[in-house]
Structures are given as structure tokens and as C-alpha cells.
């Protein structure tokens, strides 16, 4: 009876952690008409309002960028910088920016808040750098038109989505391979005992593998350029002000990093809470929770990568574009 109660509590916490992933999640290309017609919860209402806000900032950025370019005043630069930062914060609540991947990855294989935040900032920066590189190369150096450059972005995104799917598959494989027989919940307690060892210990090897995975994740997420940055950069090129656009994109990435960090921290806390309870129970869930989370997180990442990849083949139909 007690075991069952513990298992139920554990499951609740896992769902909490998943909630963070769910919050991150708003890009899945959904088949039409699958949602029930009900009034939105307060949460999704707020999410929508955030979307509306970010569009206001986006719109104002065009005028601000023109003002910086034409007047070059400090006041104009300050306005553009503030708008870029705010836009970044709100924009990251929308599709993209690796929220699902970062949250699922943390759920799968990360428990340090500091590293969660680091991952959020590095992937946000990588997305800005990809946008600057892509637009700089295609538009500025190769002299392609706005339209052609924008048309090339889905191809870069596809590469990112393939890598994301691979990362998910790799996490599942690791979980299944490591999931036989012994639990991992005690590994981290040994870390300190081996601090000064000269030969790599199993824990150190695991950590190195963790860094490799972290790098793989930042690469796969960062390869997808920030859509907001691309739009601003393309506009900057038409105004002959690429560098102003690049500065704006970098400031924007600070904003997106903050939003993704909040999510990363929430996910780490939820996960650690679940693990702490798991350690205190003798339920069969307890020993298995880490591989289960790893496989589950991997499955979400894999599914997400595949769906995003499939989604790149259907674009919005609009008479003006």
C-alpha cells in the first residue's frame, strides 16, 4: 500500500517535470481540428497574449533599426537595444529556441541548475550566431535576394531537426543499454571521493559523456537560426545596416536565453525533487526512474525532431508571399 502511494507521488512529480516540457512545447505541427472547442485556460490565454506582445515589439524594431541607421543617435540605439532584448524574452515563448529539446534533455540527463542555465545561454547564442552567419553569407556575401535567403532557412532548419532526432535516439539507446540490472541513483555520490584521481573514473567518464551530449545538444538546437533574428537581419541588409542587425540579434539572444533558462531551472528542480523522493522509496519505480526519464526524454526529443522535420514541408499559404 505504501509502495503504491510512493509510486503515485513519484508519477505526479514526473508529470510536473513533463509539464515544463509541455510549457516549452508550442511548435508541434498538429493535424487540424484535433483540439476540443473549449475556452482556453488562463495559462494558454497568457501565452497568446505574450505572442501578441512580441509582435508589437517586432513591429517597432523595424522603425528603431531605421532610426539607428539614419540618425545614428545614442537614444535610437538604446531604443533598438531595449526592443531587441524584450522581443527576445517574449519571442522565446513562441516556437523554436530549443525549449522542448533543452527541457527534455535536462529531464533525461542533467541535474545541475548551473549547467541547465549554461545550456540555455549557449544554445540561444548559437541560434543568433547561426542567423548572423546564414544571413551574412547568403545575403551579404553571395548577394542573394531577401526572398532567396529566407527560402534557404528551412534547409538549415532541416539539418537542425535531423540532429535533434538523432540526439533523442541516442538518449533512448543509452537509457535502454544502461537500464539493465542496476540503477544509477548512487553514481553521483561517488563523485567527490574520486576528485583527485588521475585515471578517469567511471563517474568522470560519465561526466565527459555528459559534456559531449551537451555539446551535441547545443549544436543541434543552435543550428536552427532564431527566426526573429533572421527577420531582423534580412531587414537590416535591405537597409544597408547588417552590423546593426547583428548587434540586435545578439541582444535578442540574451532575452531568449533568459526565457529558456527559466524553463531549464524549473525542469531541473522538478526532476531533482522526483529523484529525491525516488531515493527514499523502495518502490520498483525508484531504481528505474533515471533510465525511465532518460528514455522518456529521449523519446520526446526524437518525436519532436521528426515532427519538426516533417513540418518543414508544409508552409503557410498567403497571397502576399
Amino acid at each position: 500500500m505504501k509502495r503504491r502511494a510512493c509510486a503515485a507521488l513519484l508519477l505526479t512529480l514526473v508529470i510536473c517535470a513533463c509539464g515544463s516540457v509541455a510549457w516549452a512545447q508550442n511548435t508541434l505541427p498538429m493535424p487540424a481540428g484535433t483540439s476540443p472547442a473549449e475556452a482556453p485556460g488562463m495559462f494558454s490565454g497568457i501565452m497568446r497574449y505574450i505572442m501578441a506582445m512580441q509582435q508589437d515589439y517586432y513591429r517597432s524594431m523595424a522603425g528603431a533599426l531605421r532610426a539607428v541607421n539614419l540618425q545614428g543617435s545614442a537614444a535610437a540605439a538604446w531604443t533598438l537595444a531595449s526592443l531587441s532584448f524584450l522581443y527576445g524574452i517574449f519571442h522565446a515563448a513562441g516556437p523554436g529556441h530549443g525549449k522542448v529539446v533543452v527541457a527534455s534533455y535536462i529531464l533525461a540527463d542533467e541535474r545541475e541548475v548551473r549547467r541547465g542555465i549554461l545550456v540555455a545561454f549557449l544554445s540561444a547564442l548559437a541560434q543568433a550566431v547561426t542567423a548572423i552567419t546564414a544571413v551574412g553569407l547568403l545575403s551579404l556575401i553571395l548577394g542573394l535576394t531577401h526572398r532567396t535567403t529566407a527560402g534557404a532557412v528551412p534547409y538549415i532548419e532541416r539539418a537542425s531537426f535531423v540532429l535533434i532526432a538523432c540526439l533523442g535516439a541516442w538518449l533512448i539507446w543509452r537509457a535502454v543499454r544502461g537500464g539493465h540490472g542496476h540503477g544509477h541513483s548512487h553514481d553521483h555520490h561517488h563523485d567527490h571521493a574520486h576528485e583527485h584521481a588521475h585515471l578517469p573514473t567511471p563517474a568522470e567518464l560519465k561526466k565527459a559523456k555528459g559534456f559531449r551530449e551537451m555539446a551535441a545538444m547545443i549544436l543541434s538546437v543552435g543550428l536552427r537560426p532564431c527566426s526573429g533574428a533572421v527577420l531582423v537581419l534580412l531587414f537590416a541588409v535591405t537597409q544597408g545596416a547588417f552590423l546593426i542587425g547583428a548587434a540586435s540579434a545578439l541582444i535578442m539572444s540574451l532575452g531568449t536565453a533568459i526565457t529558456v533558462s527559466v524553463l531549464a531551472v524549473l525542469t531541473v528542480f522538478s526532476k531533482n525533487a522526483a529523484l529525491a523522493i525516488a531515493r527514499r522509496t523502495d518502490s520498483p519505480w525508484a531504481a528505474r526512474i533515471e533510465p525511465i526519464l532518460m528514455a522518456g526524454g529521449g523519446a520526446v526529443i526524437l518525436l519532436f525532431g521528426v515532427l519538426l522535420f516533417a513540418g518543414t514541408f508544409t508552409g503557410p499559404a498567403s497571397p502576399l508571399l
Binding site: P40, S44, R48, Q239, A295
Partner: protein, 222 residues
């Protein structure tokens, strides 16, 4: 072993359900249009056409004219004319986003005429003006108002009236006529629409954000 897999599948299912069911909206405008509309009347005081002007946002404007030759701060007339023609050709399929109703009943509109694109160098903005004729002219008398909404149903484009002189009356006889614009509370629309309005592409999402211009004529104005 068996129970391990069972638990794994349950976890994946839970994560999947949570992740899929909590999907917030994706639809939001990417193109912003500021609009002015002139209501044109015939000699008998009936509305016979709308002369619509769309001023595109800076992003879309830059996008639309990108790569075109520019002299003395403006684009070649031929280029702008071709742009207007192409835009209107594409928009025909969507009936120029226009919805006209007289006394609640839909009014058919024809093909757009006299398309014109202009470039405002100072603002860095492109505009498109066109005339949308009503197939049957409508009198907005005795409380039978004519309602006009111009919106992109997918809400990819948001079309909003400018704040200064959004509407005007033109042409023949329009004494005693006036146009009122009702603008929806955008914040409220965002937070109160059901989820299906955002996920179902046929839900006419843009209609919820559309302003309505109401034309009424005659001594007894409402």
C-alpha cells in the same frame, strides 16, 4: 524486465499526452497592414465601390521591393505597377480579404480595378491601392446598414485601420451618410478564444480581430 518496459511505455505515453495536449497557439500575424478605405457612391446615393489603400509594414515593404532598381529614392514605375498587378492577381483568389454585407446579407464584389503601388521613401513603406466594385450597388437607408470587414482569415496578415482619417466618403451623392468603425478588444480576443480557433485552419481566426466599418445613411442616423 517486463514491468520495466511497461513503466517505460507509461512514462512515454504520459509525456506525450502532456506535451501534445498543452499546445498553445501558433497563429499570429507576420505582416501588418495599415488601411484606409474610401466609400464611393453613385449618383443615386448608393455605395458602389470601395477604394482600399493598404500601407505595408517596413519589413514586408523591404521584402517586396528587395532587389528592384531604385533611382532618386523611388522604384521604377513599371516595377511598382507589375507588383500591384501581381499582388491583386493573387488576392483575387481570396476575394481581396473583403467581406461586404448589406442588412446582414452578403454582397458580392467584383474584380479589383485601378491597382496602384507607391513607395514612401521617408517611411520605407510600400502601399497598394485598389478599387473593389460592388456587383450590385447598395443603399444604406432606413437603418439597413452596409458592413465592411477586410481581414485575412488565417491572421497571417493583420489589417487595421489607421488612426487618422481611416475612412472617407467619395463620388456621387452621399449626403447624410457616415461610417463608424468598431475595433475589437484585441487583448480580450487573444485571451478568450477557444483553442480550436487557433488550431483549426478553417476557423477564420482573423475574423475575430477584424474591424467592422458600418455605413449608414439617411436623416435618422443610428
Amino acid at each position: 524486465m517486463q514491468s520495466w518496459w511497461k513503466q517505460f511505455l507509461v512514462s512515454v505515453a504520459v509525456m506525450g499526452v502532456v506535451a501534445l495536449s498543452a499546445q498553445p497557439s501558433m497563429a499570429h500575424p507576420h505582416v501588418f497592414i495599415d488601411m484606409k478605405t474610401a466609400f464611393r457612391f453613385d449618383d443615386e446615393g448608393r455605395l458602389d465601390a470601395l477604394r482600399v489603400t493598404w500601407i505595408f509594414d517596413e519589413f514586408y515593404s523591404a521584402y517586396a521591393v528587395d532587389g528592384a532598381p531604385k533611382t532618386n529614392g523611388t522604384y521604377d514605375e513599371k516595377y511598382l505597377a507589375a507588383l500591384a498587378e501581381e499582388n491583386l492577381k493573387n488576392l483575387a483568389e481570396w476575394n481581396y480579404f473583403a467581406e461586404v454585407k448589406a442588412g446582414g446579407a452578403p454582397v458580392e464584389t467584383g474584380e479589383a480595378l485601378d491597382g496602384l503601388s507607391t513607395w514612401d521613401e521617408e517611411a520605407g513603406r510600400l502601399s497598394l491601392t485598389f478599387t473593389l466594385p460592388l456587383k450590385v450597388p447598395q443603399a444604406a437607408l432606413d437603418g439597413a446598414t452596409v458592413n465592411v470587414r477586410i481581414f485575412d482569415p488565417s491572421y497571417y496578415i493583420t489589417i487595421d485601420y489607421v488612426s487618422d482619417d481611416p475612412v472617407s466618403l467619395a463620388g456621387g451623392q452621399h449626403q447624410g451618410c457616415s461610417v463608424a468603425i468598431a475595433v475589437p478588444e484585441v487583448e480580450q480576443v487573444w485571451t478568450s478564444l477557444p483553442e480550436i480557433a487557433f488550431t483549426n485552419p478553417d476557423s477564420q481566426l482573423g475574423a475575430n480581430f477584424a474591424s467592422t466599418a458600418t455605413l449608414s445613411c439617411g436623416p435618422e442616423k443610428s
